[in-house]
């Protein structure tokens, strides 16, 4: 199995701040790797190092078979990159942006035009061909940003928060496109802070305060990494119950709100359920639902970060 991205103790320091801390991971060819973490965790910094525009403080990596430190410019030829700002020119049209980036990578005017047309169709941007980027809504800009990153059909694509601030429908559309790309053999390194998107990925890496705190397939993450179990509770009145449960202590380890429900982390759901029921009922809360639930990625992440906090 070919690894297209391998990092080894990749580190980036900004003065006293360690933004990325000895990051070691491997991404297989053709897979979608999700890099998850809250804002400021070091996701963008990692991506910037891997695409060769930020020099690591220490450590190294191989991208597409090339050495990050020694063959940086060669890496740039085979990758695509979509930054958080999308790198789009506001006062140019969709078409002009696409052909510009195409020409930058493909170096041939005719080939560039073909590639731009192709990617424009694929991403459904035909309609907006002659619209100025300035006049496009967020969702369409994102699509264009992705299109520009992919116009030259790179082997590896780094997408930094490709779905930030996007409505769920468009988000689904974009992920469909990403699947297609991955099926075509492109390796995708995607960062996001939307936990539910992790379900879409082949492998997830959790990054927290610069450190990789977990790296596995989504199912694995939910089953093996999670050291606790989740109890799902719907209760009235919501907020007083929430406050009470937060103070309750054992067997409750953590309380999170989830829409109109509350997720409680417990060591053993079977043992905890009756205890919780008793405590709530005795205080006059009205329970609508109280069951063991499958942990979501978000639950796992919250658990892991709590663990890290306790460590540090």
């Amino acid at each position: 199995m070919m690894y297209t991205i391998e990092t080894e103790e990749l580190t980036k320091r900004f003065g006293d701040l360690v933004a990325v801390d000895n990051l070691t991971l491997r991404v297989k060819e053709g897979e979608i790797f999700g890099f998850l973490g809250p804002n400021g965790a070091g996701k963008t910094t990692t991506v910037r190092m891997l695409v060769g525009i930020l020099t690591p403080s220490s450590g190294n990596a191989r991208v597409g078979g090339y050495d990050l430190l020694k063959e940086t410019e060669r890496i740039k030829e085979i990758i695509g990159y979509m930054s958080q700002h999308f790198g789009l020119y506001e006062d140019l049209t969709v078409w002009e942006n696409l052909t510009f980036y195409a020409r930058l990578y493909l170096k041939d005017k005719r080939k560039s035009t073909l590639a731009a047309n192709e990617v424009m169709e694929r991403f459904g941007l035909d309609f907006y061909r002659d619209h100025l980027v300035r006049n496009l809504s967020g969702g369409w800009r994102q699509r264009l940003g992705l299109a520009c990153a992919m116009v030259h059909k790179p082997k590896i694509a780094f997408l930094d928060e490709p779905t930030a601030g996007i409505d769920p429908v468009t988000r689904r559309v974009i992920w469909d496109m990403l699947y297609e790309l991955a099926q075509g053999g492109t390796t995708l390194f995607v960062t996001t802070h939307y936990m539910e998107e992790a379900e879409h990925c082949n492998t997830i890496g959790f990054i927290w305060q610069g450190r990789l705190i977990a790296c596995a397939q989504p199912s694995e993450v939910k089953e093996r990494i999670m050291g606790e179990e989740v109890v799902r509770l719907r209760v009235e009145p919501f907020f007083p119950a929430f406050e009470f449960l937060k103070e309750m202590g054992e067997p409750i380890r953590d309380v999170n709100s989830y829409g109109d429900a509350i997720h409680l982390m417990v060591k053993d759901a079977k043992e905890a359920l009756p205890v919780i029921e008793r405590e709530l009922n005795s205080r006059g809360f009205s329970i609508k639902e109280l069951t063991k639930a499958n942990p979501t990625i978000e639950d796992v992440f919250v658990y892991l970060s709590r663990k890290e906090l306790k460590k540090g």
Partner: protein, 374 residues
């Protein structure tokens, strides 16, 4: 190669999308050239000279005639010595010629008649030319008188019938720094008050933060005041800095009242803030704001305000344009207070002009700004 082409094409497209800027970039230089080329000249013509002829003799009139026929001097006859001083102080006259009573009689008796020449030395360049010319002209006339006397006496007379020593006022050593440094204060204020401020507001527009202003409860006026106030503080610091440096390092004399200078500087500065604001409402990008303020306010002020080139020497239509430049009035004020030590009464007109000009700019720009924000 192909990549360079791709980049160039992109850049040209950017330019095409902003035709207003392109036109400005192409045609303003021409406009500037035309304006400046007309204005820049050191050629003196018609130096206004206050004239007090107390002698009114044939000899004195002969002298005056020979001087005024050259075209270099425009005589302003006055009735007293004090009047010539006043004309110099107010700037109406750049030189003064005083022929004392008894001038002709002294020459007749074979003695030397002396005349007084006062030259406003603040513009050292013009002053040098005036002095050089006067020297030559007077030596020549003196030679003529000598010959006439020789004819009358029947023998060659010696000596010089006319003696004079030009007194250079305000800047006796004709030091260029004294001429230029006061003007520098005005220029630096232009940079801060117009260029930096227009840039600052244009930046907010480019960054998109003007939107936040629209939404917040802050009023346009509060925004403007808040935006411009820091620059007033910076300008005051600059004023003090330049003055101190000028006085300690370059022996710049300071003959007037500092508080008056301070007050009038503030008035000037506030009046040019309106220009900066106006430009920011016209320019859409930072680049344009900077370029516009540079081309439309700074360079014209550098060249046309009298900072280096005397306004009087410029063609009349250019002189008319200078009336629109606040810096023009400020330079008069600066030189007046620093070099000549004049008071408010003599500078009244300048202040009036400044206030009128300034408020016009301010009002126009605030109105435009409000429309822009709304």
């Amino acid at each position: 190669m192909e990549r360079i082409a791709a980049l160039t094409v992109k850049e040209l497209k950017h330019i095409r999308r902003d035709p207003r800027s392109l036109i400005m970039v192409l045609f303003f230089p021409m406009l500037m050239l035309i304006l400046f080329a007309y204005a820049i000249t050191f050629d003196i013509r018609e130096v206004p000279t206050a004239l007090f002829d107390a002698d009114r003799s044939a000899e004195s009139r002969g002298l005056i005639l020979s001087l005024s026929s050259s075209g270099y001097f425009r005589m302003i006859p006055v009735g007293s010595y004090r009047a010539t001083e006043e004309k110099l102080n107010s700037g109406e006259a750049w030189a003064a010629l005083i022929i004392p009573a008894g001038f002709a009689r002294k020459i007749d008796r074979g003695e030397t008649g002396s005349i007084q020449i006062l030259v406003d030395g603040s513009d050292s360049n013009t002053a040098s030319q005036v002095v050089a010319y006067l020297k030559g002209a007077l030596i020549r006339y003196s030679g003529k008188l000598l010959f006439k006397k020789s004819l009358r006496e029947g023998r060659l007379m010696n000596g010089s019938p006319i003696s004079f020593r030009p007194r250079l006022w305000y800047n006796p050593d004709l030091k260029s720094p004294n001429f230029l440094i006061p003007g520098l204060i005005g220029l630096i204020m232009m940079v801060i008050g117009v260029m930096l401020t227009s840039l600052s507001i244009a930046r907010e527009e480019e960054d998109g933060t003007l939107e936040g202003i629209r939404v917040s409860p802050i009023s346009s006026l509060e925004f403007i005041v808040g935006k411009l106030l820091p620059y007033i503080l910076i300008a005051i610091a600059e004023l003090v800095l330049i003055l101190i440096a000028g006085i300690t390092i370059f022996d710049l004399p300071f003959r007037g009242s500092f508080s008056l200078l301070f007050l009038l500087s503030l008035i000037f500065f506030v009046s040019i803030l309106g220009m900066g604001l106006l430009i920011s409402t016209i320019a859409r990008t930072q680049q344009m704001a900077w370029l516009l303020s540079l081309l439309l306010t700074f360079l014209p002020s550098l060249i046309l305000s009298g900072f280096i080139f005397p306004i009087r020497n410029m063609p009349y239509f250019v002189q008319l344009i200078t009336y629109l430049l606040p810096a023009r009035y400020f330079i008069v004020i600066l030189r007046g207070i620093i070099l000549k030590g004049v008071g408010f009464s003599q500078l009244k007109m300048q202040v009036v002009y400044l206030v009128v000009l300034g408020s016009t700019f301010m009002v126009a720009s605030i109105l435009r700004f409000k429309k822009k924000i709304a």
